[in-house]
């Protein structure tokens, strides 16, 4: 009788399993210094995940918390620009790679800091044919390293800005392990509800992650001239998503300029309805994370 796989003890001396375990330990010891890991996700692109990540981070920082941001959207990173730390080049210390610190005190790690030129797309070195066979693995490991090898210090919150797409959400959850919770962002339109609904079922029901609730972004338009809130589109017939509503952040035409200048909107326009709502949601999420 030929002996089976499970009958053979050890890994024949390649020590691969042992090294993978050591890398996992490295990640766990880093995460022990971080009180909460909160993911901002949607499944859909262009709904305001990155913009809200930057603004929640700023709101938490203003609440007196130590905040870090991990730009987990490796192929579409933009947090360096949103937080005003474009052009930062990584530095190493005894404790790992030093994150950038924004003018408002938010620590950030992003793929942008490793790229020689921010206009270039992210291209991994490796065999050019059959890239699909290994690309996901490289990205999962790059993400693990960005988490475990960054000298975050003690953090009250680490916010992850996630890429769109269910497969990416799964890969990130797989790497990070249990989150304190996820904040899901949608637009409130029918198309958005459809895609966002899928991500909620994926993250909550399939991956078993905690979800704090849904933020609807840009359903309303705030006109700073007239100080009025108007509906942006007719959303009367849309089926509601089966997740607690955390709030509604209106579209504010001044938001785009803030993103471009690298100043979070909640800091530039603290009295705007969008800022008041973002702070209220930020407070709610922190309270949820404590219970």
């Amino acid at each position: 009788m030929t002996r089976k796989y499970k009958d053979l003890v050890g890994d024949g001396g390649s020590n691969i399993a042992g090294q993978v375990e050591a890398l996992t330990d490295r990640l766990s010891s880093r995460l022990r210094q971080i009180k909460r890991v909160i993911a901002v996700l949607s499944g859909k692109g262009g709904v305001g995940k990155s913009t809200l990540t930057a603004n929640f981070a700023a709101a938490w920082q203003r609440m007196g918390l130590n905040v870090g941001v991990l730009d987990a959207d490796l192929n579409g990173s933009c947090m360096a620009k949103l937080l005003g730390v474009r052009g930062y080049r990584i530095q190493e210390s005894e404790q790992g790679v030093e994150p950038a610190t924004s003018p408002h005190g938010i620590r950030l790690m992003s793929m942008d800091f490793f790229m020689p030129d921010e206009a270039q797309p992210l291209i991994w070195r490796g065999p050019q044919s059959h890239q699909h066979a290994w690309r996901g693995m490289v990205e999962a490991n790059a993400l693990r390293e960005m988490l475990s090898d960054t000298h975050w210090g003690r953090l009250d919150v680490l916010v992850l800005d996630l890429p769109p797409g269910g497969d990416r959400i799964t890969a990130v959850c797989d790497t990070v392990g249990p989150l304190s919770g996820a904040v899901v962002v949608g637009l409130g339109s029918e198309v958005s509800q459809l895609i966002v609904g899928k991500s909620i079922r994926l993250v909550r029901d399939h991956l078993g992650q905690e979800t704090f609730g849904l933020v609807t972004n840009m359903r309303q338009y705030y006109d700073p001239e007239t100080n009025r809130l108007l509906p942006l589109f007719d959303s009367g017939t849309v089926d509601p998503i089966d997740l607690e509503q955390l709030g509604d952040v209106p579209f504010d035409p001044r938001m785009v300029g803030c993103c471009d200048r690298g100043v979070p909107f909640v800091i530039a326009h603290p009295d705007a309805p969008a800022s008041i709502e973002i702070r209220r949601i930020a407070q709610l999420v922190i309270e949820r994370g404590q219970s």
Binding site: T2, R3, Y5, L8, V9, G10, D11, G12, G13, S14, N15, I16, G18, Q19, V20, A22, L23, R26, I90, E92, G96, V97, F114, M115, P116, W124, R125, G126, P127, S129, H130, A133, W134, M137, V138, N141, A142, R144, E145, M146, D149
Partner: protein, 95 residues
């Protein structure tokens, strides 16, 4: 992947790594601890890359990986990491 000597029913042991070629193919020699039998496994570039992507070194390593070693090795910005100029050398144990 595990290998079995079909004669002795013993698990084959990693004997030595080597034969890392410019084309990304890579060789590992395995030997049976009980008899003299041995063989060399060649991986194709995609298989080599799969191991490399895990951020591990075949045969283990005495030094822990440098911070963000896998990420930097895959971007080609290898300064400050022990991975040298060959894109695959990061997966070889250094000594």
């Amino acid at each position: 992947m595990k290998f079995l000597c079909s004669e002795c029913q013993e698990a084959m042991k990693l004997d030595k790594t080597g034969g890392l070629e410019d084309d990304g193919t890579f060789s590992v020699r395995f030997a049976c601890p009980s008899c003299d039998w041995g063989f060399v496994m060649w991986t194709n570039p995609q298989e080599t890359q799969m191991v490399r992507s895990l951020g591990v070194k075949i045969g283990g390593s005495h030094v822990p990986p440098a911070p963000m070693e896998t990420l930097r090795a895959h971007l080609g910005t290898t300064e400050g990491t022990p991975s040298g100029k060959c894109p695959f050398s990061a997966m070889l144990p250094e000594d």
